[in-house]
Assembly symmetry: C2
Homo-oligomer: 494 residues x 2
């Protein structure tokens, strides 16, 4: 007879076998699936996700979790951590009535289609009724899940376990004026480097070879991973030793795929650093989106967009792209750090990026707490955006219709991007304290000790603790805005 804990582990590993097959089906959908295969692929994915959902939400799973909660695992053991997380996700999965889940899925399907049309036509009115329904359903789901302070907490909890709107707001309230104070000097500096300074001719095979070289250098294991091409870049894991990155190529601008791969490889290093023997259980899974994003931003920005990085990599990059020999390493570093307010979040520079997130967070919070009507989103967005970024939104496709998230009914997700930025800066600050040689190692293109530090402090922990406990353990503090602000100030206004 297996103990309840063994039964849960066995079930979790069984679910992981099926869920990872779904990952491959999804990856293939974005990479290689012939166009006529899409409809059947949707059926396959729906079937397998229904199957894993039933495997996890079965009544006996709840009984096993209850039994484990009585079995006195030491609080700091892997077992206790797994049981805590299974309880969290079991409750989230079972507290929603089936009728609500089904309704949400139906509304979501129509909303996504309506959003696509609305964005194309830049006509918010087409999306408005769908979004109103999704907001209402999100509020009802939050009520089912329960919360202490704000229904928004219940929504964030699905992406960032334990996060509270009040804490996020406190961080953002510090962040916004700090960024404003950095933006002026940053713009002044950026004026010195032309906007299209690096544009040229960068053949895709050369970009691919360089990207692979850099990803290998920072530690991504290509025997347990690969890179493919997709419209929207992502990182996807379909087994304990199978992590796949994707990117897109622009022959005029190598930086898109280059920083895309550094970003996705940052996610990939996290996935490859999880403990393989715990694959499929919480302690073998990433802690949260805000921790995941800290890893991608750390490698993309703190490592990849630093002057030291370009001082070291300039010769190698010039071997792949001879025309870059005309630029000095300092010029390349300046060009890839150019700051300029823009409408589109995914194109934003490091300084203005978080302003986009703060705007979205404030609007989401008001929507969920009933202080803003869906009809008033465009006006509110445009007014706030102009205050923040000094740009007048003239069409909603450049404003509140630009992101896919709301059309999927996903709220409470955006803040994790900025949490990722804050966590990245805080982790880098701590890593430099723990490893006095770090700066000089990075300047020599040696990334092994930084990766080892992240492996130990972050990757190998999985969901052993909640994200804020993990940050406390790794850096001695919960997430603060201070380190990110100081990093931006040094880099862009120092």
């Amino acid at each position: 007879m297996l103990t309840p804990y063994r039964k849960l582990t066995k079930r979790a590993k069984e679910i992981a076998l099926v869920a990872s097959a779904s990952e491959l089906l999804s990856w293939d959908l974005e990479t290689y699936l012939p166009p006529k295969g899409v409809a059947f692929r949707a059926d396959q994915l729906a079937h397998l996700s229904g199957h894993t959902h039933r495997l996890f939400t079965a009544k006996n799973v709840g009984d096993w979790i209850s039994a484990c909660e009585q079995s006195g695992f030491p609080a700091d053991s892997d077992e206790a951590a797994n049981v805590r997380q299974w309880r969290r996700i079991y409750d989230r999965a079972t507290k929603l009535p089936t009728s609500l889940v089904e309704k949400f899925q139906r509304v979501q399907t129509h909303a996504r289609e309506a959003w696509r049309q609305a964005r194309q036509l830049s006509d918010f009115s087409r999306f408005k009724p769908h979004l109103a329904k999704l907001i209402d359903l999100n509020r009802r789901m939050a009520d089912c899940w329960g919360f202490q302070e704000s229904p928004y907490d219940a929504l964030m909890d699905g992406h960032e376990p334990g996060a509270r709107a009040s804490q996020v707001r406190a961080l953002f309230v510090e962040l916004r004026p700090a960024i404003a104070s950095i933006l002026g000097p940053a713009l002044e500096r950026s004026a010195r480097i032309p906007r299209d300074f690096l544009l040229g001719n960068y053949p895709i095979p050369a970009q691919q070879a360089l990207n692979r070289e850099v990803a290998t250098a920072i530690g991504f294991d290509f025997d347990a991973g690969r890179i493919d091409t997709t419209t929207h870049p992502f990182c996807s894991t379909m087994g304990p030793a199978d992590c796949r990155l994707t990117t897109r190529y622009n022959e005029r601008d190598f930086t898109q795929s280059f920083f895309g791969i550094l970003h996705e490889a940052g996610h990939g290093l996290y996935e490859q650093g999880l403990r393989a023997e715990h694959y499929g259980t919480p302690v073998g899974s990433a802690a949260s989106l805000g921790i995941h994003e800290s890893q991608s931003r750390l490698w993309e920005n703190h490592v990849g967009r630093s002057p030291a990085f370009w001082a070291h990599w300039h010769p190698a990059v010039s071997r792949h792209f001879p025309e870059l020999k005309r630029c000095s390493p300092e010029q390349v570093a300046a060009a890839v750090n150019r700051v300029a307010p823009s409408f589109i979040r995914v194109e934003a520079d490091q300084v203005t990026y978080d302003l986009h997130i703060i705007l979205r967070f404030e609007i989401e919070l008001k929507l969920i707490e009933g202080q803003l009507a869906v009809a008033d989103i465009p006006a509110c967005w445009n007014e706030e955006f102009e205050k923040m970024a000094g740009l007048k939104v003239t069409k909603d496709s450049d404003g509140c219709l630009q992101d896919i998230h709301w059309s999927s009914g996903t709220l409470g997700y955006f803040p994790t991007y900025t949490l990722g930025n804050l966590n990245a800066a805080q982790l880098m600050h701590r890593a430099a304290l723990d490893q006095p040689a770090l700066e000089s190692e990075l300047a020599r293109g040696q990334y092994g000790n930084l990766l080892s530090w992240l492996r130990e402090k972050v990757h190998s922990r999985g969901q052993k603790w909640l994200p804020q406990e993990l940050m406390q353990s790794a850096t001695g503090e919960p997430t603060r805005s201070h380190y990110h602000v100081e990093y931006l100030r040094r880099k862009f206004a120092g």
Copy 2:
């Protein structure tokens, strides 16, 4: 309440959703999986195949089949055909005791590894004990499944439903001397064209572009399929509109990938011609291996290796490979039809190919019927091969160790390759009678009417009938050796 037939259809479609996910996992294993991902991929595949096996062999499935057998579907209806086939495969799947299936899988795993080593070292003694066990297990499985004449019939039935060793032997007894009589003149002609006549420099991108052009021309739908690169070429279907071909490239010899793709696209056209609305049920599935192989051989050999084909395609092919301009279309056609006995089946020409199969069939039959000891295989093989092909086998890696089939415990499979050749010639003969313009259409590179004929007579039928009933319906006769022999004689000794 669903009728038993609706329940079976629902279950079959559910199984197809999971089985087609397994197809993708297998395809990915051969195409893109990072090396360290192999072990987990094996776990995924084993789990999903166990899942589909349980879904199909459940007791209620047997009850539903029995109920359907009483429900009086007209014998020529899709429903009756599905019920007949479900009965066949349900009985095959449930008649084996679990202990035997598990033992077979264990022995198979070790045997495959032993075979790899044995082949590498050309040392049959390393493979011998494993093969002996597999032969014994095959005999026991045949006893469980039951048979009327020979235990070999029960084994063939898994690949070629309804086939009998006695019928195959009768075909092969006619075939062998006929081939012998064609081989002499064929060799004489081939002596006129040098062995390496077409070797040159054929860049892979040009091969890929040409292959795609030709596959499109014969009707393969790339919106519902694709081509990737693997060590061993195959055709794999993972949905009603998702059929994937693979090939390998040799930069010195474009004919490998070219005829490889014509062959696999022949399989693919069959898959793309099945009735999509019946996907996952027998009438929406290919009839047998011998019918499947008839489609690949028809497009590869009867179409692709004909002088008319090269007369038409020579200009297009020369656009991709300028150096082919030095050859006339007739010279290319002669070169790709060069006949020369050789040791390796997969490299054999059209004339000697079937000799390889006849040899294997005779040996398998004797093994299963207990007239040949495993230890005597090499001696028997080498003696017979020299009689047939006039070549002395000096190492078993060129002889009885060359194929993977036995190491997987697969017997009764080889004859389907030659059945494919016979069926291809018979179908082409009939198509030409039904469509008097066929020859001139093919000479103009017009393949639509041939494909339509195959769609109607073969593809769309699925498993509506047994393979021999299908041949009877399409050509007016069961499979005969006559048409293949006459085709070879005309082409190689005419």
